[in-house]
Amino acid sequence: MKLYYFSEMPHHEYPDAEGEKYPSLRLGFPNRFFDRAKAAANYQRYLDEYEYADQVGYDGLMINEHHSTPSCVNVGVNMAAALLGRTTKRAKLLILGNILPIEDNPVRMAEQIAMADLISGGRVLSGFVRGVGVEQWWANANPVHNRERFEECHDLILKCWTEPGPFRWEGTHYHFRHVNPWCLPLQQPHPPIWIPGTASPETAVWAGQRGYTYVPFLVPFDIARELFDYYRQGAAEAGREVTPDNLGFLICAVTADTRAKALEAGRHFVWRMGPTLRGPIEWFSPVGMRSRAGKQFALKARPRSLATLSYEELVAERFIIAGTPDEVADGFALVQRELGIGHLLLEAQESRMDHVTTMRSIELMGAKVIPAMARL
């Protein structure tokens, strides 16, 4: 099983009491609390940590993108991929992902991903996401078109990568009279495509039909298995075989020299389970963004929202795995047995987890955990 290192590049650099005065940390929390000097230093720090994760042997480095939120200030996932493409040597660069429905120019997106793939020597894994509702507000993109735009944007990017230009695209949401990108990915026919999921059965089926790698994020095991069943249903429709390489899962994880130290560090993940997800439903799931089937599944997927779980419950249910290297290796092996996955994505730094703790966790993962996982 392959392991991936991931940090949301958080900006938890303001007094929590200020954040609590607002309905949500997203969209409405004023950016006068954004600390430019600390952000500048943090970007250097986070990139150093990614580079170290590459050096110790992580199979992949995952990056993501959000907007208008201190939970994630990686605001340009392709920019980050290009940087890491230059400064790292070996690990795959898992972009998870580009937020397709809010993109107005899929041709430029296809070019940017291709450029990152070229710079990195063909190490890009290109994830595509529908995004959370907050991004629809940020981009002022009509949420009722979220799925349609996701699919059309995907189709146009794939066409950019696989069909010779110039060609014309007159779609429903995208219109380009002259498509002929002079920047194509190194990997042929194109970088592998990854799709995350939290609650949409349609997305799982869609990914299965296309043989893309499908990765549920932070859901209970039984829900992940159900989503994988939808994935298999889509794959079967297309006559595709499903192997562990098609399936991944995301959890939060940290290791340290002692169990006590690791459990203390793991508390930083609680921030991303509750405070950063707090906010009106109209902001996180705006009108029309989810199908009725998706809404019903979402209710089932989170019978209790992560925000209502205590740290101990989050650890017990393995949304967070924190312990000595041997303990986290056992935890990861259990996830692998439960879900039959080939890729485990580790959200490995969060909130105010400091640089020393993060680097030690990366080091121990590289020395003791990654080799054990490679044998699974």
Binding site: N140, N142, P143, V144, P280, E282, V287, G288, R292
Partner: protein, 262 residues
């Protein structure tokens, strides 16, 4: 006078409509909330006019029109509805997003309608304030902001006091989704509409609530300035729902205005 309900097919879409009354036809276009049917002000106006109150496509019990992208599409659709229903040259009254549609219809084909009534209509960008972002707020927040004072609304309990049924919630969801299709961006206005309004010389009554917290009363003033034959009446102690908040006064205003045509 009791109305009846009909389903009228227009362009392949089944349009649910309430129809009743006597006299010349009056087409009533509802706002984003819902087609509230045979409410008190309509009953009074229907004593003198035949009221046609269709439900917009994508709302309530009318069929889907997921291909629509703006209120100008809705306006062209309702001009078609006038022909399909055989209304001749009806008076036209629209509230909120229905008012915007009515204004668009008047600019597209002023000869297709008789007198025009715009009530708390969206469609124009306010010069000073903002149209409230209804998608950004919860139902409970909107409920607090939509009228001046619920206690003074005669039909409040009937229209808003009952807990919603699952079917009602689903219908409300669908209506909100269609509203987003029609009005997401630019939000609740058409930057080109003002350029066409001077074409509309039809006598026009504009009605607004002084305390409208959804669409500021300055939008009423903008419509009055742009429409050559328009009068603006602003109701005191009234929010975004003049027909519901002051049904008797509102019906009187509408009747007086329409009866001038006779």
């Amino acid at each position: 006078m009791r109305p009846h309900e009909e389903t009228i097919s227009v362009g392949g879409i089944d349009v649910h409509a309430w129809i009743g009354g006597r006299g010349d036809p009056l087409l009533v276009l509802h706002g984003a909330g819902a087609n509230r049917g045979w409410v008190r002000w309509i009953q009074q106006v229907a004593e003198h006019f035949t009221v046609w109150a269709p439900t917009h496509p994508g709302f309530g019990r009318s069929g889907d029109a997921e291909w629509m992208e703006g209120v100008d599409d809705l306006a062209r659709f309702h001009l078609w509805f006038i022909e399909a229903a055989g209304l001749g040259r009806p008076h036209l009254l629209g509230h909120s997003i229905g008012g915007w549609a009515a204004a668009e219809m008047a600019t597209m084909s002023p000869g297709s309608i008789n007198r025009l009534v715009l009530v708390a209509a969206t469609g124009l960008k306010p010069e000073r304030g903002e149209i409230l972002d209804v998608f950004y707020h919860s139902d409970a927040q909107l409920r607090d902001m939509i009228v001046h004072d619920p206690k003074t609304v005669p039909e409040w309990d009937e229209l808003f006091g009952q807990p919603p049924t699952p079917a009602g919630l689903e219908m409300a969801d669908r209506s909100r989704e269609m509203t987003a299709r029609l009005s997401w961006k630019p939000y609740m206005h058409n930057p080109r509409l003002a350029h066409f309004l001077p074409r509309v010389t039809n006598p026009t009554l504009i009605v607004w609530g002084r305390d409208d917290r959804i669409v500021p009363v300055e939008c009423g003033e903008q419509y009055r300035r742009a429409l050559p034959g328009a009068t603006l009446r602003v109701l005191e102690r009234c929010g975004h729902l003049p027909p519901i908040e002051h049904p008797d006064a509102f019906a009187r205003l509408v009747l007086d205005f329409l009866q001038e045509a006779a």
